[in-house]
């Protein structure tokens, strides 16, 4: 009898927990369903339809949109986008990791100040910040005028409107998204772990390589994804800093919807992007798991 009561009580507690969980998850889940999953479903459906002459779609089913995406023109644009986004990510990592590491070495007051400074640029509109680079770097801009005035160069450098300028713009825009996750991974590392390594005879370099670095890896992966994903789909930076002379997948998708009035093909390109990014998340999850698994084992 008592056992039955206990079980009933336990079930009631479980039910309440489940109810609470459902209630807490409901807003988030419905948001994702209504504003992401359902529209994504529409986009997927559109990939099988035929382009309407004046925009929209005609309900004639076809797979042609997918075969068109395999054209070398589009593959080449995809590869170039990946290269540009990967370069921005790598540079962000090279700058972001030491920065995050240095911040963890500061007193907690200074840490807060530096973290604030890192997110500060987000308070200004992205478009304006990107335009600022044009003002700085153009042939009549501050940098060139300054360098000419102090006699370093006599002809203005052509810095803008090349893939390099696009990489710079993306790096600038998304660097904070690299620093923050790495920082949060680094601060969580118990200093005792490093001390233990040193006590057991590791040099500081060895302790860094064998203790700090592996434990920071999840932060590095998250930061890399945070920088890579918005970079590869960005179309404002290539347009402004690339002078419209560099085309990335984001521009391509935008043009299909807004210029060519070719919604089905634009949808195919969008779905390809989603699949590619899902793959990336999958790889990240796997790597993450193997790293953490090693630590536990």
């Amino acid at each position: 009898m008592a056992q039955v009561l206990v079980r009933a009580e336990r079930d009631a507690v479980k039910r309440r927990a489940l109810l609470a969980r459902t209630i807490f998850l409901l807003p988030g889940l419905s948001y994702i369903t209504i504003f992401m999953l359902i529209p994504l479903g529409f986009i997927f459906f559109y990939t099988f339809l035929t382009r309407g002459t004046y925009g929209g779609v005609e309900y004639i089913f076809t797979l042609e949109n997918y075969t068109r995406a395999l054209d070398s023109l589009y593959i080449q644009i995809l590869i170039e986008s990946i290269l540009i986004a990967a370069s921005a990510t790598l540079l962000a990592l090279l700058i972001g990791f030491p920065a995050a590491y240095a911040i963890t070495k500061l007193s907690s007051n200074w840490q807060n100040i530096f973290l604030l400074l890192i997110v500060l640029p987000f308070w200004t509109n992205f478009l304006i910040r990107t335009y600022a680079w044009i003002v700085l770097l153009n042939t009549q801009g501050f940098l060139n005028k300054g360098l000419i005035n102090i006699g370093v160069i006599d002809q203005p450098l052509e810095l803008l409107y090349k893939p390099g300028a696009v990489i710079l713009g993306l790096l600038y825009a998304y660097l904070p998204l690299m620093i923050l996750p790495i920082y949060s991974a680094l601060v969580r590392i118990d200093p005792a772990m490093r001390e233990a390594a040193i006590n057991l005879g590791a040099s500081p370099a060895q302790a860094f390589r064998q203790v700090t670095l592996p434990l920071a890896l999840p932060g590095v992966l998250v930061g890399s994804i945070f920088v890579f994903v918005p970079s590869v789909g960005n179309f404002i930076v290539p347009e402004l800093l690339g002078g419209g002379k560099t085309v990335m997948v984001g521009n391509l998708i935008r043009d299909q919807f807004l210029k060519a009035r070719d919604w089905p093909f634009g949808s195919v390109l969008a779905i390809c992007m989603v699949v590619m990014l899902l793959l990336l998340f999958f790889i990240q999850a796997r790597v993450n798991k193997s790293v953490l698994g090693e630590k536990n084992g």
């Binding site: 382009r51 644009i77 153009n138 002078g243 210029k259 060519a260 070719d262």
Partner: protein, 365 residues
């Protein structure tokens, strides 16, 4: 028995079809608008480009006719097209779109034929502008502003080399390389090469467009950038010496530096028009016509000339504003006849895919 039934079904279907087409016929004609309708009982929603109209226009119109006016802004033709072609009633009564887009809307049967008796001010419409290629006879659209595309350049930085041909832009002299921009929007991205090669700006011929592509790829090597929005600023700063430009936009440069001049290249150019249309789905058609009529009032329409520095196909408005402006902005003086010698842009229909593909190939090279 089956035969009979089939015949019955057939004749019923035929009757239905006749009935439907009769209804359609009645609907597409001048669907009896009431000249004495109480405009204060109607509400208008107008979609127009931002900053392309007097800010107080809604308030002024309401004051005069009692009609509540809501203005919504669109950034591009494509944006408002998406709303208007999505099916059903978009809630928009009057839309401002470029001519070739009005043509596309009309082809889908979405536009109301205008009843000119309700737009008495349309007598101000410049006669030559009644026969624009996207809507000969101005049946379903009334042009708001019009102009052409050419080369905007710094006469002081190009002394002795003033451009006269599209080739000056496409294959500039060595000292101007890297100081040239072209427009990024497809139709105007193609235009210089199309005209330089002697083709139509509306060509759908794939062989011609292949040559256009080759020329544009060669031209890209000499470009500073493709730029739709800040090209005149680049002339002011001296970052660029010549840019492909719409006539009105070149004036924004001229306003800051008198050495910035505009030329229509000798090979000819396009004739573009932004136009006003009334949607067939509108339930406030009388007020919509009154709005078009209000715009065509010389005092209202001249605002566009004075503030946007665009030409308007309105005799009275031009007569009112032009004398004070033409000295500072010579391209405002391009006559309607000169404009009409340029080629009107028309909708490309299915060939717009071809244009997008070539634009992608050129910009991605």
């Amino acid at each position: 028995m089956r035969m009979v039934r089939k015949a019955t079904v057939g004749s019923v279907a035929a009757l239905l079809l006749i009935g439907l087409s009769a209804c359609g016929g009645a609907g597409s004609g001048s669907s009896a608008l009431d000249p004495n309708a109480d405009l204060s009982q109607q509400k208008l929603t107008v979609s127009i480009w931002a900053a392309y109209y007097p800010e107080d226009i809604a308030a002024k119109f309401e004051e005069k006719f009692g009609t509540k006016v809501t203005i919504t802004n669109h950034a591009t033709n494509e944006e408002v097209m998406a709303k208007l072609t999505a099916g059903g009633d978009s809630g928009i009564d009057v839309a401002f779109v470029s001519g070739q887009f009005a043509q596309a809307l009309a082809a889908q049967g979405l536009l109301e034929n205008l009843d000119k008796s309700l737009i008495p001010n349309s007598s101000n419409l410049i006669k030559e502008a009644e026969q624009l290629s996207y809507d000969p006879g101005a049946k379903y659209s009334l042009p708001y502003a019009w102009g052409t595309t050419g080369i905007c350049y710094r006469s002081d930085l190009m002394k002795g080399d003033e451009p006269t041909s599209w080739n000056d832009l496409l294959t500039p002299k060595a000292k101007y390389k890297g100081k040239v921009t072209m427009l990024a929007t497809e139709r105007w991205l193609m235009l210089p090469a199309q005209k330089a090669l002697g083709y139509s700006a509306n060509t759908q011929d794939e062989a011609e467009m292949a040559k256009v592509k080759d020329l544009l790829i060669k031209a890209k090597a000499n470009l500073l950038a493709y730029d739709d929005t800040t090209f005149y600023e680049r002339l002011v700063s001296g970052e660029a010496v010549m840019v492909e430009s719409w006539d009105g936009w070149c004036n924004y440069g001229t306003a800051k530096n008198k050495n910035i001049k505009f030329v229509v290249p000798s090979e000819g150019s396009d004739l573009w028009a932004d136009t006003m249309v009334v949607l067939k789905t509108s339930k406030n058609k009388e007020a919509a016509h009154a709005f078009l009529n209000y715009i065509y009032d010389a005092d209202v329409h001249s605002w566009v000339v004075d503030n946007i520095l665009y030409k308007v196909p309105n005799t009275a408005a031009m007569a009112k504003s032009l004398p004070a402006l033409v000295g500072d902005f010579p391209n405002m003086g391009i006559s309607p006849n000169e404009l009409l010698q340029q080629e009107g842009l028309v909708d490309l229909g299915k060939a717009s895919s071809l244009y997008t593909r070539i634009a992608t190939e050129v910009t991605a090279k």
